[in-house]
Symmetry: D2
């Protein structure tokens, strides 16, 4: 019941610490016969990897994925897909000074108390480095879900916000700037802001929006495993996430039912989509869209008062290489987790009725 | 893999449709030896039941729980607790007119497409009547979690909002008014607003806030089953929920790390609590707090254009007895789901280390 | 993780004690659209129920199943099927004398030690009465598996054994005698033997054989969830079972590979079937056959030395109504559990490849 | 739901094919704080590894385990333990001749039909090479279960049988001979017999017996996850296993209840142990003992008539390096699987009662 697996049918289990020899995982339940596009997997890894631009951490990891099983002559065999990503640029010495220190708003304190032991190097298991494994699995899930299109982008950094609804966004702009905001002008401001924040030795939060298109009707398993409930869990399981809303979200709470309700057209589609493509926990074929809130990164390059594991007051100051804002690199992670959720329910939906 | 179970160790499985003979469930994994306070269970049921006040649905259900197993001489035996709640006041005829009609923003369309068949009476399985079973299980979980205090309340109805942070709220006020908002004045306005909305034949959304106090350090199972990820899933699985945020939530995305970070005091507690009592997916002993967004109820007493299952345009108009706003009755449901999550992780945490 | 659920896709969870108000269960994951034959379900219940013949326990239970959900207009809806069987003829007073006593080879001692409390009436949860719920679910699974034929029969009682291989057995004979052995002559001897054993106040064990025919190729999920591993677990979970073997079984251990190997014919079928229809944990389309060992019933109508819960020596003597030999009533239970395993893997097999 | 995980709390997931780059696994749920004895793990690997003696396959694999995560400064951290065993001596060319051929009583046919694709090299995923991963996990489970002693040994090879009950066996003899039978004389005959069988190009089956001592009372989760049901599943999931019996097993079916029942002594122990240490699916503190049946290895060095994947008749003849009899190498695998089952239930039992 330890929580290192995600999914029921298309199931990912991950392992690995930030500064161990390697991280990796096992995908169990990928159907046989899927021809894998390894280049596409690599592209997803490149979108997440550190050092990709001036506004992210400068740790250098190639994040090359080694597949060890479950694939034969380029196709999945139905047996578990084991994979490995070696850690090559960990600098554990950067962390020896925090060996006994609980950094504010990190997981140092809670891991130590829960387990009675912690691998302090680079945050150990609590590091977002683990999400590289999710991107591997998500990239395979995306290939399984041919025709379903999953697109995430940065919709805010600090107080800078892209206010257009997703339907007015030009997705082709997303990857044209390092911050992955589909409005070139706002993106440019965001980049500058992140750079200035970094200079202050500070960090900032933001939001990632995601849209899933061409979803078949019928995905989701009420009453507990509603499609949006699993999407929410998936997103909330990503490091630094503080909130999730789909469709009309929090804003929808202020609406009246007569306005909020999505009228059907003759073909079963709806005139509006406050439902966010999900009704009663099951996809209705309309676009699914949701937003994910990321807090500011906890590691700041400023002196902070904190305590050590004996309760002594000490001062901590970030060393090592860190992201001043996680949302640009979170974009492929959000897509990956969405792909895992959709793949799982898509497979399950094939056996909903006789 | 059908989704009618929740929890891993303390596991609830529910069954039942709104207008079937009964709804019920099985709680598997409740430790043996717990003396049950049946009156306390009943009190929770009363808080959720229909007909309890002028601002909720007037369906009359006593919601009396019959326990069929797993309890001997007032104590849990460690064997599964089977329970039943009979449906006594269902008026299925109220629904014959929507037999072939897909009501806007209901689950009629999606259930029909997913399963190829639907029990249209009262929304069938998609009805929030199912949540009565969650309240039963949650009430038992609360008793297991002696000392941990779970308190939910209405923090907004439509645009009327209680803006105080939870720490300034007087919890003793919550149950003194039918809307369960702990500020008497705002509560009174909310009640009036809900009444006026109902007169219009319309509905409105709102938010429920929840606080969990006296939580032991160490609950939550990273990396996927983070405490807040399971809380999020639990809340999003409740009917009509559109969003979830914990700690600083969406507002936290605009903050800088230097402001957002929670400094430790010598005793391991923190000066601020933007983390919402959870760091790295594990409880840190501070108060856990979160907010849940509920959309306006889809059933309105107004004519709406929609379609039937042949794609013909038809007009639907709500009949039956419905809530103009779900948040007052959602309060005990939010608490129940929170209790289920906490109970599960609390049991698991006992075997985290040797 | 309490163990009251079976199956992953087609999942049964049961509850109930021998002398509680009712026993019952929830079947979650039965595909929608299955027209149920309630008469067929009832026939299976009749095969298991007490009091059906002179050689079984004389407790009188109609074992009428009440379905409470998941079925609409005679068809499954894809939502959980809740069902109930009331206990009508429990005579708890028969058990007050064993309230504090640990009956030899019963579960009194282990339940008491594990849970610190036990419902002593009729063995509580450890009673084979629970298997009535399995027969309900198995009967539905059988209907789902149209075309697949599952047939069990008694192959030995004590030392009386039916030595013919299953392929020489006339299945139409099975239900013609109360012991459910397909050889009329041996059956008659078995009946007489069971009667004489009962007169002695004693009990005896036996074996049940089972054959599954017309199984599609491809059921089973290596490496841990091999088809025969799940069948084995299913059978071993039935009360009083001590062993399981499939195909050549224990006898096969003495064979040479050159004799044991099953040669293929051009159509993919095999000339022999020592494999028992399963190779590498996956069905190969040949008949699956296995044998299940049942110990003698622990309750005997003789005085036995034992202890009470204080460690005092006491004498126990069976009262109440008990089976002198369980195998006749175990036949439909073995079939039911086999049906649950096959249904689960059959559904899963539909998503093995793209 | 693909079946490559075992256990619920102490959970092993494995990956890898016989001739891939590596096999490996993830252990999720091992409690934190366990000091690992790597030498002890290695000793278990040596007992299973190929090439260890003249009577096993001569494939040369060092089976060195690389731990990649979940361990810090020699102790488990509570995070998932990822590990890898490289394949170094695979000779895939040995298998090119069977690329399109279905070897009798192998899993070639069923994997091909189920998945539509197969890695034919060395049997791919269906190879017993995967069990090396089980031994790794089992070795760690054994260390967790300090004080509980798990001992397996060969109790028969072909028709040569060790007839003494386990209680009369000298466990210290087991590892003194390559066949792992604790009677030196019978062991010597078995070795000679296996050698002669190998000369014939043939194979033979056998049985492995296993005893678990010092088991706490209370392990096992009725009604489906009975201790012996999980042990049975665990054993049946091992390659080549055809049967499982515990306690009195199949022989017990011929006994009368008055003989079979285990009378209690004042201290709660029993005078006899036909129950095999388990009553009602829960350990009673007495020795658990069971026997596992292994079929003769399917690969024989003789010409066999079979078919290819087009249905053409062809001749297959074993090449490569194979075991003439698996039971000597199966001994540590049986122990490992037993350790996994016991570890899982032992952890769960800590939360059975409040």
């Amino acid at each position: 019941m330890a929580g290192n697996s995600f999914g029921k049918i298309f199931k990912l289990t991950t392992f690995g610490e930030s500064h161990g020899a390697a991280i990796g995982g096992i995908i169990d339940g990928c159907p046989a016969g899927l021809s894998l596009d390894f280049e596409a997997i690599n592209r997803e890894m490149q979108r997440r990897k550190p050092g990709q631009s001036a506004i992210v951490t400068q740790r250098k990891e190639e994040d090359e994925v080694k597949f060890l099983s479950g694939i034969f002559e380029g196709k999945t065999t139905g047996t578990p897909i084991g994979f490995l990503i070696e850690n090559t640029d960990q600098k554990s010495k950067d962390y020896s000074h925090i060996k006994d220190i609980y950094r504010p708003s990190h997981a140092d304190f809670t891991y130590d108390k829960k387990y009675g032991i912690r691998d302090y190097r680079g945050g150990g298991r609590s590091s977002a480095r683990e999400t590289a494994c999710r991107v591997v699995a998500g990239a395979i899930a995306k290939q399984l879900l041919k025709g379903i299109k999953i697109t995430a982008y940065v919709s805010s950094v600090g107080e800078m916000e892209l206010t257009e609804p997703y339907s007015e966004v030009d997705f082709s702009e997303i990857e044209k700037n390092p911050v992955r905001c589909p409005d070139a002008e706002i993106a440019s401001e965001m980049v500058n802001y992140i750079k200035s924040i970094r200079k202050e030795g500070d960090t900032v939060g933001g939001t990632v929006s995601c849209v899933i298109q061409n979803v078949p009707v019928g995905l989701g398993e009420p009453v507990f495993d509603k499609l949006h409930a699993e999407l929410g869990k998936a997103m909330l399981s990503i490091n630094a996430v503080k909130g999730f809303e789909y469709g009309s979200g929090f804003a929808g709470t202020a609406m009246k039912g007569s306005v909020h309700n999505d009228s059907f057209k003759a073909d079963g589609s709806t005139k509006t989509n406050h439902s966010g493509g999900i009704q009663g926990g099951i996809s209705n074929g309309q676009d699914i869209y949701f937003k994910v809130a990321f807090k500011p990164v906890a590691t700041i390059m400023q002196k902070q008062e904190t305590i050590d594991n004996k309760g002594n007051k000490v001062t901590a100051e970030g060393k090592g290489r860190h992201d001043p804002c996680v949302v640009p690199r979170a974009v492929p992670i959000v897509e990956a987790m969405a792909a895992l959720v959709i793949a799982d329910f898509w497979l399950l939906s094939k056996i909903s009725k006789i």
